[in-house]
Symmetry: C2
Amino acid sequence: VTAQPTAEVIAVGDELLRGDTVDTNGAWIGRTLAGIGIEVRQRTVVGDQVDQIRDAMRAAVPRVGLLVVCGGLGPTADDLTRDALADLLGEPLLLDEALLQRLAEYFADRQRSMPAGAVVQAMRPSSAWPIHNQVGTAPGLRATCDGCTVLLLPGPPRELQPMLTGLLPQLPSAAPSSARRLTVALLPESLVAELVEPLLGEATAAYYATPGRVVIRLTGATEAVAAATARAAAVLGDVLLDRADAAESVLAAAERRGWSVAVAESLTGGLVTASLTAVAGASAVVRGGIVSYATEVKDSLLDVPAELLDARGPVDPEVALAMARGARRALDADVAVATTGVAGPDPVGPHPPGLAFVAVSSPEDERVVRVDARGDRELVRTLTVAHALDLLRRSLNRLPDYSATAEPG
Amino acid sequence: VTAQPTAEVIAVGDELLRGDTVDTNGAWIGRTLAGIGIEVRQRTVVGDQVDQIRDAMRAAVPRVGLLVVCGGLGPTADDLTRDALADLLGEPLLLDEALLQRLAEYFADRQRSMPAGAVVQAMRPSSAWPIHNQVGTAPGLRATCDGCTVLLLPGPPRELQPMLTGLLPQLPSAAPSSARRLTVALLPESLVAELVEPLLGEATAAYYATPGRVVIRLTGATEAVAAATARAAAVLGDVLLDRADAAESVLAAAERRGWSVAVAESLTGGLVTASLTAVAGASAVVRGGIVSYATEVKDSLLDVPAELLDARGPVDPEVALAMARGARRALDADVAVATTGVAGPDPVGPHPPGLAFVAVSSPEDERVVRVDARGDRELVRTLTVAHALDLLRRSLNRLPDYSATAEPG
């Protein structure tokens, strides 16, 4: 058994530390290297200072077999990664005539004169090799330091990504260990972990929770992951989605049944419809949605009886059901889901923020569930969307309603 | 003159290294600390391993006065930041009875039994103080190590942000400089910077761009910031919003005019209505929205003439305008905005992904603009939402259409 190859990533840029820019390269590099079995052990973000960059490189080199440094290769005075590499290697920066030639052609092609500052992009430490940039002016650099492969890549994702992708076949990759992702709807993260942990065997699990959803990532040897996946699926039962997210599961289920889908929304204000239509190909299934934000619109467009609205107010299980029925009719769909409730921060009549009802109406099924969400306006809306998509998925798949208190399995 | 206080940030989570999650906390913390004059010198991302977390903390402590560690405080076996702090301090983890009590109340409030694993969230090293979590179950922790203030915060942004914001007054900040945020709609970041940089005087600007929006953050002495703000406002003119975001500007403008608002959406699938209703108090202005995802729904609910749809197809400026008119009528609103276009990844008839039309209809105004967005499905939808909100804002405020080529000012 050979050890899994490891890497570190250093991202360079004051703008990353100050938070003017979110570092998306780190995540992309992590995914890309994981794809060929290289594990990123640490990522470091440093500012535009030669000594900071060099010290971070020097600390990383003995720890890993591959070091990817991104950013700081441009033509301006704060682009200092090249200098830091020269410092690390103890070599001066030389002018590479072939690189200079290529730079000159780049500007000539674009009918622009080459700015004087651009020349620095043709400099490299003597033992470093240039990596061609298909998109921009700054070449990458590849060097070896104490047995560690060091790659310097430009910061802009559209320059960095093709460059690293092109280098992948030359990197020290491992037999990829197997990884499997399971998405669980509505169940709290602590409960998911409690259920899954005893089933892992030789596999390892990590959990990632967003409101209304937990993603379990199982890794390990291929058979260990397959066995753990089977055991987890058996215990989790119907809280486990058959797709990576709830909207995709709904669309897949609707497609299997040959049913079209409609939505009626009040407190979620369009988010349920937006979640469904975020999936490419949604138009095969989704007819559309009606956001009946004003109470009168629930009557005028969704035919919710005015007497019901007068008697109960808009936040009511019967109103939710009437909205779902109205959306099926108005949008000529087979099945519809509806939401009504209090997003907050203020209560609506006697109802506190976070109280909502979601309903489904289909040719074979009518259901309403009550949601008690705690949190701010955004969280209440997000959790209500999660409940609406889950109720719809359960109706389409003829599953019982979700219950947080019932033990799955 | 005292030196500027410095900080480091450590983000904990295998999912960050593997790239399953993009680290947005780092940027937010950088901006927030910069706002009170604390400079973040380095950010490190480490995996879910006690020794990795502890070593990163141990390396950072002697370098800075403040260390913020985020993530790894949850209830599952891979949440190990608490243990790493205990290790760093050389103290055992103790059960804090008051924290346990609070956890028990959290679950009791929600009528859920407390999972056994949750108890670990009531543990702390003896010299560390808990920081109350207003939103979730995991408290933060605050400790001092060799003169460095160490804050442990939960990873989810909605838990982390209020916690750190609440702590700001207690942090070792620099002479409080003044800060001002300006939000610009649609103008590209490079152009915003080109316009604003010459106007800064003694103030400093940082730029933060998201699709369709640039936030300029001006910092410096109070008078310098006020002067730079006035100059920037004069040059930016009508691309500068009078609120922090486009939806708030639209709602404020509609309220000033006493007009109600409706939405008709195709490719944006509910996101325009969702953006407007994300603002607390939206119900005073927003009547609702119709997501006419299927072409027939544009006819049946929005009265877009079937002949027009047959002749032109759904992606057409006249169709966008007819949708806006239809939404005004169907939802009984004063003004309506509509979107139609191609979200992608596939073209619609002759139209490429990214082509969209947005239209507004009001008692005094009808407008249509063409949007050419480049990017994936999510980006196309997000940019179309930005254009729709901007057109609506401009119509409500009697401003000319946005033009990327016209020099503002």
